[in-house]
Every structure is written in C-alpha cells, then in structure tokens.
C-alpha cells in the first residue's frame, strides 16, 4: 500500500515540478541575457489562465484534433512518471523500461504531428514534416543509446540500470559517448536552441510551435504541460542513468525518500542551469544542418556500442 502511495507521489511530483523547471530555465536565461525575466511561477499562471479559457476550434478540425492533446499529455506524463526521480524500485518500476519510454514518447510525437496536419494549414504541415525529419534521426540515436546503456548494465529497466551504476561507477568511454549523444537527443527532442527556439513565433524557424499553432484554451494548456514534462523527463533520465547518487532504494524509510527528493531537486536545478548556459552560448542552426547535429548523436551512440565489444565485461 505504501508502495502505491510513493508511486503516486512520484507521479504528482513530476507533474508539479515540470512548469517550475520551465519557469526556472526561463528566469535563468533572462538573467544571463541581462533581463529581469518573468517570475519563476509564471508557467503555472499561464497554464491556469489557459485552462480557464474555451478552446477555439478550426472549422475543419476533426475528432483527432480534439483528442490529440489528451493523448499526448497522457503518454508524456506516464513516460515521465516511470523514470526513477527520487527513488528506485517503485511500484511500477517493472514497466519503467527504456524502450517502453522511447515508444511512449514516439507515439506522443506521432499524435502531435498528425494534429499539426489535421487542420490543413500550411504551417502545421511544415512543422510536422520537419518534426518527422528530426525524429527519423533522433529515434535511432535514442535506440543506440539504449543499446549502449543496456549492454553495460545488462538491463533496459531504469531501476536496474540506476542500481548498477551506483555499484559499478567507473570511467567508461562508451558511457561518456552515450551521455553526449543523449544530451544531443534531449536538446533536439525538447526543441531547445541549436535545433529550434522555444521562445519564437517566427514562422521560418519554428518546428514545435508551428505544429501547435492552431491550439488554444485548455488544449494548448495540455500541450504546453506535456512539453514541460518532456523537458523534465529528459533531465531526470540523464540524472537517473549517469548521476544516480542520492536515489533512495526500494523499501527504505521516509528519510531516504526525503534525501532522494532534495538531491533530485538539486540535479534538476543543475541540469536546467547547464542547459540554459549551453543555449545562451550558441546560435540557432539552420534547419538543414540539424540532421548533421543529430547524425553526430547517432554516430556517437553507434560508436559507443561498438567500443563496448573491446571493453572489459563486469
């Protein structure tokens, strides 16, 4: 019974923290650019306001357009809640499989691209086609990273991987390559700066914003929340695989959970800060250079897998 409560707490925690992380990155970015920036809680206010508004639908929007936000949000929330954030070995840990999480994110992306094309505006189609172009490189790269990590740890289950990394922390070239590749994939998947600008509505460069252009009201709120959850998911994933220290083990007491939560908050803050520093120090690249950027991730993942074969086994 307690297990179920902890799992529930984890689900609510990721949901509650996602807008905070977004607000934090925006605030830090504004400060780094010498601006005051909106308050950290601004995303909550935006979401609350959007929730209270009626959704305006285009005349030729089909049922898919109305269902998609709920499905996207549900898939992303489930994926984010499965990742061990403050504790491993939770109630649903057996299903927290890296391949399952990749598949959940892939189906959310599929629905978003369909919704982008549903109304039939040219921007939506443009955004969807670009998103699919990026996805065709980002997903194989993600799968290669999963292979690398799974070959090292002997499991694709996140709790097992985190436990393994805690025990056998070492300097492995394959894991380093996987970390860099996963960071590149995370940046591309979250539409952050070298790939896409999250703050722009300039039609020539937008990818994610182009797909959700037709959404309004509570539909838009759900999609924005799903995007925030996705950012949290990737930072938690990197933290869980590569910096698992502080994670509470299963069946440990409330003190361990408290320590786990505090370190998790610290990891999120550090991850968000590093992301923003990276974003402010680099310029956005042209859309047709993005495949090269993602191709590098694919190459690193492949190289990491290959190098494992000449490495020692545990």
């Amino acid at each position: 019974m307690l297990d179920l409560a902890v799992q529930g707490a984890q689900m609510l925690l990721v949901l509650a923290l996602a807008p905070l992380l977004l607000g934090f990155t925006r605030k830090v970015k504004a400060r780094l650019l010498g601006r005051q920036g909106p308050p950290i809680v601004q995303p909550y206010r935006d979401l609350a306001r959007l929730m209270g508004k009626d959704a305006v639908l285009a005349e030729n929007a089909s049922w898919l357009f109305r269902c998609a936000p709920y499905l996207i949000f549900a898939a992303t929330w489930v994926a984010a809640a499965l990742i061990p954030t403050f504790a491993t070995g939770l109630y649903f840990s057996w299903s927290a499989d890296l391949i399952a999480i990749t598949a959940l994110l892939g189906s959310a992306r599929f629905l978003l691209a369909l919704a982008g094309m549903d109304v039939g505006t040219s921007f939506g189609g443009l955004g969807s086609s670009r998103e699919m172009m990026f996805a065709s490189l980002a997903e194989p790269a993600m799968i290669m990273i999963v292979f690398t990590v799974a070959l090292v740890a002997g499991s694709t289950q996140l709790s097992a991987i985190a436990g393994f990394m805690l025990l056998h922390a070492s300097l492995r070239v394959s894991l380093g390559l996987a970390l860099v590749a996963l960071t590149i994939v995370a940046i591309a998947e979250n539409a952050r700066i070298p790939v896409d600008n999250p703050a722009t509505h300039l039609e020539l460069t937008m990818v994610h914003e182009a797909m959700v252009l037709e959404y309004s009201g509570h539909h838009l709120a759900l999609i924005e929340l799903a995007a925030a959850l996705k950012l949290l998911l990737y930072i938690s994933l990197i933290a869980c695989i590569f910096v698992p220290w502080g994670l509470a083990q299963s069946e440990s007491g409330p003190v361990a959970y408290a320590i786990g939560t505090v370190t998790y908050l610290g990891k999120l803050a550090v991850g968000g800060f590093l992301l923003v520093v990276f974003e402010t120090s680099i310029a956005k690249m042209r859309v047709f250079r993005v495949p090269e950027f993602l191709g590098a991730a694919l190459m690193l993942g492949l190289l990491g897998t290959l190098l494992l074969f000449v490495s020692r086994s545990f």
Partner: protein, 220 residues
Amino acid sequence: MEHFTFDVAHLLAGLMVLVSFMLLYQDRMFGLLNVFALHAVVLSLSVAWQAYIQSAPHLYITAGIALVLKAIIIPVALRRVVVRLGIHRTIDTVGGIGPTILLGMGLVALSMVVMLRATAGADPLAREDLAFALSVVLLGLLMMVTRRNAVSQVVGFMSLENGLILAAAGAKGMPLVVEISVAFSVLVAFIVIGVFLFRIRERFDAVDIEALEEFRGERQ
C-alpha cells in the same frame, strides 16, 4: 579501483577513435588542423598512460615526440602552408560527410571483428589497444581516399601514422630506436610532401589533385 588503469587506457584510445571521426566530420581547413593537433595531444596522453602502466620509461620519449612534433610543429607548419598557398578554406569531399561517417563506422566494426579474432589469446589491454589502433589507421586511410585537397590528405596520412604509434605503444617491446626513426621518417615525409605541395601549386595553380589526374590523361 583495480580496473582503473584499464579504463583510462580504454578511454584515451577510444577518444583517439572519436577524434578521428571529428577529423572526418570537419569541413573547414583551420578547424581540421586544430582537430589534428587534438588528435596528437590525445595520442601523447595515451602513450604516456601506457608508459605509466607498463613502467616503460622510453615510451615517455615517444609521448614527448608526439606532443612536440605532431601537436605543435606540424599543425603550425601546415597552417603556414595553407596561408601561403591561399588554399580554399572549405574542404571538398568525395561523396558527402554523412556517407563517409557511415563508411567509417563500418571500418571501425571491421577492425573490431578482425582484431578480436586475430588476438584471441592476447592480454586484454594490448587487445583493445590494437583494435583501436587499427580503426584509427583505417579511418586515416578513409580520410586520404575521400578528400580532394592535398593538405587534408596530408592530415589523413599523419592521423594514420598516429594510429601506428598507438599500436606500437600498446604492444609491449617495441624498441626506442624504431620509434624515433618512425617519428623522423614522418617528419621527412612531411617535408617532402610540403615541397611537393609547392611544386604542384607552381605547376597547376592549385593543390587540388584533380589537376594531376587530368595531366596524367586519366580524365578527359
């Protein structure tokens, strides 16, 4: 901690392969020379680590030669050549960068397969080192094949030679005399190639080797 020495050796050798890929990925001349210097720095680190774990002091000399000669002198000299010849700053490749990288991954896989079969009974440290060294050599060859510009072919040749040194450092018992003579033969090769570059340029007003093919009648 007993795996630490192996892990660091593995990390440095793996970095060599990665920097070889960065050489293939570069499409700017000066960027290429910088990455080549990085290649040599990683090589000297790797050789120095081998010297430490094998307690073979003469390998430190090899590392020093790699650092001074290849990380400083040759890149600076090549940079001067590029500036004096006024070569185009972008690099022409045969085929795109993407297919080249894919071919490179294939070569790495090939060298792993070959080396792991060929050295089944050897010490694991030497084994992984040889596999990485063969990949670096093959990637250097690939770079020489896929570049049109003579300077980037020279860089490919030098990176190939770095792979040879990596192999020599990993296999215990290579005499110092051989290593020094290899290092100097590379220097001589560099000078000869440099002279050739200027001669080619005098003759054809370009260091693009397509001009040579035309001259030999291979292309109408």
